[in-house]
Subunit: 361 residues, 2 copies
């Protein structure tokens, strides 16, 4: 029972959930090279805590169903990611008139859409692990994950209907269409070694940045910001999403070598060329040839080959280049919202952008 | 260029498409034992022709995309089923103020939702053939069908938004939830020999009847019928959907024996016990034991065993009993709309119900 936790009303989840949300916020800011950021954001968390606890409660309101589809959906929801998307919706709303019931419904919706896409992605990519746990499909089967994804999408759309904020539903349908088109680009590139930046950005803008853009714009609309401010926040979201994805890509190369080599090869097979690989191949033609050979071979990369590829990739400086590019996007995000009036929400958004580009987990 | 075809405006599809729609309407009425029905409905088709051509054009408006997801979606749409669901939406609207742009959007939407579920079902059930053609997933892969289903669902929801008819979007979200819950019941019964009617009806009401119910109620609302008439049409839809599904189940046992045996076994494995099997097992315990053994065996049914099971099933009279039950539901459908004022739409709906329960294809 931490005294530091903002008092919660009786009908809300108890302090333990509050602490869990706090931990999550800290995780976003868990930056090895900039501990002061984590410090600042920890101070800010009081400002967000009750909102995030409410979002969590709203997500928990997805009905429990004791069958494989229900279990698949709740397995994923219980893994609890960073909840960065709902946090962004909340902050955008707070930059306006505040985080009310409508904004909360939208914050839950953005996480549910994200969760729906993860369920379908894991089926499509034959994913076995997610957030350190077995994927829902390995526990309950592909069929259940397909329908669980459908279900969470419907649950998300219901929240958006409840929110009753002008334009956000039509926007979301457009965004999901965009996400599917990005999946199409990725599917088309399966088994091929994509080396152009245009394709890479088409995929990450469609798959990742678009939903961030929607979340920020929708939070702004729920907070009754005017169209210019809403667009500023949408631009923030777009840039934050790109930064976030590039860091995700780079972090894949910072782990243990054997695991990293295996994941790299699995990604290549699925048509997922990540930014560090793109840069590495541009800088080192031998690396490109080695990856091409591995992709053409039915055996794939051996552990030793994987390690050699990783060493070569690191030597090109591609990972540092990726982190540097992510910082550029996070700076563009921060710049996009300069026009917003000063306040805690703006400060928090700026810090979230900075932390997202510097995170190491 | 058949003279009998209603003249089409220049911006509409040409007479060939008109004839295709006509054929489809006839197919619904293609009843071996009641040729007069086909005759009557053929006369009625002039009354529907332009509406159905418009719906077809509206479905065709789903953007063409030259990648596997787009191809998967259009492969399924091009197979052209009976379009019974859009026809029902059109007739419900015509029972009111007529088939306008809103009703047309809803008619296209109901077919798109249906198509989305078929794409996901084929992935989940490992379906290889649909409407006499290879399934989209066998041509373009499971991944493309998962996302194509997602896409058509989004396209459907967009049409519902365009239609802008009160309550129909929230209703549709509830209906899709109902469909997913029925899938859950089916998944839970995979590999088990379901023998209770409650489970059977829970599945077909959720998977089939619910969307018919939505189509009829929504068409009625687009046609500005009052709530009582809309509910009458919803009840019609519910009963028609059940009748339609039971006939579908029964028709599975009227084909060539070897194929039928194979499909029967595949269905059992997927947890799909159909009504004739349910009745057959109730009436003949030996049949139940044989199916149980087949399901428990890794080899499944041999051709000879399949034939024996079919013969035993036919001997119980289960297929006739199924057709008789379907007729009861189609009569309940017709009865539900007795309260509607007389007119061509009501006559057509009554005939569609009758033809759906008597069809042999």
């Amino acid at each position: 029972m931490a005294d530091s936790v903002t008092p919660l009303r009786a009908d809300r989840p108890g302090p333990d959930e509050g602490v869990a949300v706090l931990d999550r916020l800290e995780a976003v800011c868990n930056t090895h090279d900039a501990p002061e950021l984590a410090e600042v954001l920890r101070a800010l968390s009081a400002f967000m805590l009750e909102d995030l606890v409410q979002v969590e409660a709203d997500i928990e309101r997805v009905p429990r169903r004791d069958e494989v589809i229900g279990k698949s959906a709740h397995h994923l929801l219980a893994l609890k990611g960073k909840r960065l998307r709902p946090m962004c919706v909340a902050l955008a709303a707070k930059a306006g008139r505040g985080f009310d019931d409508s904004a909360r419904a939208l914050a839950a919706a953005v996480e549910l859409v994200h969760s729906a896409t993860l369920l379908h992605d894991d089926v499509v990519d034959h994913g076995t692990m997610r957030r350190g746990e077995p994927t829902a499909r390995t526990l309950y089967g592909n069929a259940a994950s397909v329908f669980a994804g459908d279900w969470l999408l419907i649950e998300a759309l219901r929240r958006v209907r409840q929110a009753d904020v002008p334009r956000v539903l039509d926007d979301l349908l457009d965004i999901i269409d965009e996400m599917i088109r990005a999946e199409a680009v990725q599917l088309e590139n399966r088994g091929r070694l994509v080396v152009d930046r245009q394709t890479y950005f088409a995929i990450i803008e469609g798959k990742t940045a678009s939903l961030f853009r929607w979340g920020l714009r929708s939070g702004a609309r729920a907070g009754r910001l005017d169209d210019e401010d809403a667009e500023a926040l949408a631009t923030y979201g777009q840039n934050l999403g790109i930064a976030f994805q590039i860091v995700d890509d780079a972090l894949d190369f910072m782990g243990e070598a054997e695991e990293t080599g295996k994941n790299l090869f699995a990604d290549l097979r699925e048509g997922k060329v990540t930014y560090p690989v793109l840069v590495g191949m541009e800088r080192d033609p031998a690396l490109k040839a080695a990856l091409g050979d591995a992709l053409a071979s039915p055996k794939g990369l051996s552990n030793a080959e994987g390690q050699r590829v990783l060493t070569a990739l690191r030597k090109t400086g591609a990972i540092d280049a990726s982190m540097a590019l992510a910082r550029e996007y996070s700076e563009a995000a921060a710049k996009a919202i300069e026009r917003l009036p000063s306040g805690a929400a703006k400060t928090a958004l700026t810090l979230v952008a900075d932390a997202s580009a510097r995170r190491r987990a």
